[in-house]
C-alpha cells in the first residue's frame, strides 16, 4: 500500500505540471485584459502603463516559469513561516493579484474560513441527510417514504441553487418580518467572529439559508447513490445467507449490507470534497458569502490571471489528492482490494 501511495504521489507531479501549464495557456489566450473593467475615462497610454507595471507584456514562457517558481517554492515557504513563525521565506516577490496588488495566498487564506464554514457544513448536512434517506428508501423500496424521498431528491437535484437561494430569501428575509425569530439575513457577514453565545446564534442564523440551499443539493445527489448501492446489495446471496443464519434484521442491514454498499458512496463523497474548498460560486454570490467561489469568478471577470491560475491550481492539487484518498479508502473498506 505504501509503495502504491508513493508511486501515485510521484506520478502526480507531471500531472500537476501539465495541468498548471494548460490552465496558464487557456487563461492567457482568452481575450481578457486586466484594464478592461476600468472606466473609459482612463486613457489608453495609462492603461498601457498599468499593463506594463503588472508584467502582462512579458513573454508567456517567462511569465509561466516565474509563476511556477513562486508557486512551488516561495509560497510554500511563506505558508510555513506563517504557521510556525519561522523566517525561511525569501524576501523576493510573491504571486501578486492584478486587482489588489497584494499576495494572492493571503487573499485565499482570508476567504477560506467562510467557504469551509458554509460549504463544508452544507456538505456534512447533505451527507447526514442523504445516508439515512438512501438506506431507508432502499430498504423500503416503493413505499410512501421512498416515493417522497425520490421526489425531494429529484427536486433538489433539478432546481438550480440560484432559484432556491432567491426563493429562500424572498420567503425568509422579505416576507417574514424582521422582528420575527424566523427572519433570516440575506447578506452573510464575513466579519462576524464567534466569541459568545449571541454571536454564535447570529452565525448560526446567517448560515441557515446558504447551508440549506447547498445541503439540499448535496443530499439529493448522495442519497441517490446510497439508495442505488443499497438496492444492489440487498438482493445478493450473502444477504439471504445472513438472514438464513438467523441474524437480526438490524444486523443484516446495518452491518452486512451497509458496509458493502458504502464502497462506491465513499468514493463519491471523497471525490466531491475538493469542491468544498472550491466554494460554491452561485450560492456564494446569492448570499454574498464572498468565499473562494466568489474570489474565482470576480478574478475571471477582471482578467486577474495570477488569481485564476493559483486558485485553479489549488483545486487541481486537491482533486489529485482526494482521488488518491478515495483509492486508498477503497482498500480499507474492502479487504479484497490490494494494490501491491
Amino acid at each position: 500500500m505504501l509503495t502504491y501511495t508513493i508511486r501515485r504521489l510521484i506520478l502526480a507531479v507531471p500531472t500537476l505540471l501539465f495541468i498548471s501549464f494548460i490552465i496558464f495557456i487557456i487563461v492567457k489566450l482568452s481575450p481578457s485584459d486586466p484594464t478592461a473593467g476600468l472606466p473609459l475615462t482612463i486613457p489608453p497610454e495609462v492603461r498601457e502603463q498599468i499593463r506594463e507595471s503588472l508584467g502582462v507584456n512579458d513573454p508567456l514562457l517567462i511569465q509561466y516559469l516565474k509563476w511556477l517558481k513562486l508557486m512551488v517554492w516561495d509560497e510554500p515557504l511563506h505558508a510555513i513561516d506563517g504557521w510556525f513563525g519561522t523566517t525561511w521565506a525569501p524576501d523576493g516577490p510573491r504571486i501578486i493579484s492584478y486587482q489588489t496588488r497584494a499576495p494572492v495566498f493571503e487573499w485565499v487564506g482570508e476567504r477560506m474560513p467562510q467557504t469551509l464554514w458554509v460549504v463544508g457544513t452544507s456538505y456534512i448536512v447533505g451527507v447526514v441527510i442523504a445516508l439515512p434517506l438512501g438506506i431507508i428508501s432502499a430498504y423500503k423500496q416503493y413505499s410512501i417514504f421512498d416515493q417522497l424521498g425520490t421526489f425531494i431528491s429529484m427536486l433538489g437535484f433539478s432546481v438550480p441553487t440560484f432559484f432556491t437561494g432567491v426563493l429562500f430569501i424572498v420567503i425568509f428575509s422579505v416576507w417574514i418580518d424582521q422582528d420575527s425569530i424566523f427572519w433570516l439575513p440575506s447578506v452573510y457577514d464575513t466579519t462576524l467572529e464567534v466569541v459568545d453565545w449571541d454571536t454564535f446564534v447570529l452565525q448560526f442564523r446567517q448560515m441557515i439559508m446558504p447551508v440549506m440551499v447547498l445541503g439540499l443539493f448535496n443530499a439529493a445527489q448522495i442519497s441517490r447513490y446510497m439508495r442505488a448501492s443499497m438496492l444492489d446489495n440487498l438482493n445478493q446471496d450473502y444477504v439471504r445467507t445472513a438472514r438464513a443464519k438467523g441474524l437480526g434484521e438490524r444486523t443484516v442491514v446495518l452491518v452486512h449490507v451497509l458496509r458493502n454498499s458504502m464502497i462506491p458512496v465513499v468514493t463519491v463523497i471523497a471525490l466531491n470534497v475538493p469542491a468544498v474548498f472550491g466554494g460554491a460560486i452561485i450560492t456564494e454570490q446569492v448570499f454574498k458569502v464572498n468565499g473562494i467561489g466568489q474570489l474565482l469568478i470576480v478574478a475571471i471577470q477582471a482578467g486577474d490571471v495570477p488569481v485564476v491560475q493559483t486558485v485553479s491550481f489549488i483545486f487541481a492539487v486537491l482533486i489529485v489528492l482526494f482521488n488518491l484518498i478515495a483509492d486508498i479508502l477503497y482498500g480499507v473498506l474492502d479487504p479484497r482490494i490490494r494494490y501491491d
Binding site: 478592461a36 498599468i50 486587482q99 496588488r101 497584494a102 457577514d189 470576480v298
Partner: protein
Amino acid sequence: MTRKILMLGAAALAMAPMAAWADGHLARGGSGHLNIIYWQAPSTLNPYLSGGTKEVESASLVLESLARFDDTGTMVPWLAADIPTVENGGVSEDLTQITWTLQEGILWSDGTPMTAADAVFTWEYCTHPEGGCAQASYFDGVESIVAVDDLTIEINFVNPTPFPYTALVGSESPIIQAAQFADCLGARAPECTEANFGPIGTGPFVVTDFRPNDVIEFAANDNYRVPDQPHFATVTFKGGGDATAAARSVLETGEFDYAWNLQIDPTILAQMEAQGNGTVVTAFGTSVERLHMNQLNPDPALGDIRSTAEAGPHPFLTNPVITQAMSMAIDRALLVEVGYGAGGQPTCNVLPAPELYASSANDGCLVQDIAGAIALLDEAGIVDSDGDGIREYEGTPLRVLYQTSTNAVRQDTQALVKQWWAEIGIDAELRNIDASVFFGGDPASPDTFQKFYADVEMYTNNFAGVDPQAYMANWACDEIPSPATQWQGSNIQRFCDPAYDALIDEMAGTADLATRGELAMAMNDMLVQSGSIIPLIHRGGVSAHANSLGGIRMSDWDSELWNIAEWHRIPE
C-alpha cells in the same frame, strides 16, 4: 505637538456631549452604524492603483482632495481654503500656474499635520514611470508641483491651462500621506499591501478592517476637522452579489442603508421601491449612451485595412441625410422606459451637461419621426430600387452591422432600434460581444470597440470632472485608432474635420468660461450634425437609500459618497 493634539482631543471630548444635547443624531458618531452595499466590491483602497469606480468611491471616505464637486457639479473647496481663480490671483495671468492654499490645522487620522509636501509626494507617486498609476492623466501637462510653504501648493503647467482644476481635485486624484507611502514608489507599490489596504487619510472615516472584494469596516476619524462630523460612528461597506440583490437588501429586507449602481429592470426597481422601505435616487453627470457611425469603410473584404484611413470613407454612413434619418427613426423616450427608468433621459447631445455646455440646437431628435425620416430619404433619392425592402445609396444597399457589449438593456435597445430602422428601409445585423473583450483593448482581438470592425456600435462614455476640454479633443483627426497606434485612440467613429480641430485648439487657449461654453456647444453640434454620433440616452447613476437615512446629496461629478460626513440617521 503631542500636547496640542491632547488638548484638541480634550476639546473635542468636551464638545461632544454639548452637541449630543442639541441633537444626538447630529453629533460625531451620534447616528450609530451605517451599512452600505456596493455589489461590485472594492479590491484596494488606493485609487491610484486601481482606477475603478468602486475603489475610488470607497477610498473617498478616507482620502480627500483639494476640492470636490457637489451634486450640482459646482466645485467646492475641500482641503483647500478657497478655489483659486485668475480674479483672486490664485491662477497666474498666463494660465500656467495655480496656487492652492490648504486650510489650517488639517490633521491626518494618525494625528500628524497634513502639509503641502504630501501634495507634492502624491504627484511624485502617481507620475513615477514604473508605478502604473491609474490616474496619471490627472497630472498630464503638470511640469512640477512645489511646496512653497507648509500650506501653499504651487502647480506649474507646461502649457497655458485654462482649466487648471485637475491635479489633486476630485475623488479620483486625492492626496495621500507621504510618510505612509514613502517606500512605495514605482515598482515597489505592490509591496505596500498594508498601506494600499488601509491608507491614512484626512477624511471623515478611518479603515479598521479591509478584506479585498468582500467587506470594509470604517470608524469615525477622531481627527476630522469638522467637530460634529461624521455623524455615523462606524460604517460597513459590503460587496458581492448582484445589482438586484443589492437593491433588495435596501428596499425590501432593510438590511442595508445605501446601495450603489442599481442598473436593473426599471419595473422591478419600481416594485421594490413601492414597498416603502427606501427611496431610489439618481444623479446625472456626463454619461451618454450613443451610437458611433463608422466614417471609414469596415467592409470585411478589405481585410486588415478595414476601418482605417486606407480603406477609404464609409460607403453611406458619411452622408448626413442617412444618419439623420436613422436618428429620427429612434424613439428615445421608449428606450428610456424599457431599459433605464429613472436612470436615463433622452438626449440629442453627446455633451449633455454641465448646463453651461449643453446645446439645445439638436433637440428635434427627442420626438420619434418615422414618416419624416422616410420623407427625408425619399427626397434625397435614397430609395429601394430593387424591391427587397432595403434602400440603396449609389448602388450600395443600406445594411449595417450594429455591435455593442453583452448586456440585457443594450440587447433590448438593439432589437428596438433594428425594428425602427427596418421601418425606414435600413437593415441592421445585430451582434454583441462580451464586455471584457469589447472594452478590453487587446490589439490582437478583432472585437474591440477601438477596432470597430462594424458599421455602428453602441456604448456609454463620459468624462470625469466638469471640464469638457479633454473630452471634446477626443474627436481630433489624429486620435483615430489605427494599426500604427496599436489601435489606441479615442476618435472611435473616425470623424475628421479640420474645422473641428481648429475649435479644439481655440478652446485650449481660451480661459473665459462663457466662451468655452460656446465653443463646446459648437463642437457638440458639429459632431452630432455630422451624423457620426447619434446620442441616445443621458445616463445617470441610480442608487437607493433607506428612508431613515438623511443628508444624501448624490453627485455624479464626484464620488457618490462625497458628503458622507453629513449623512445621518433620521430619528423615528
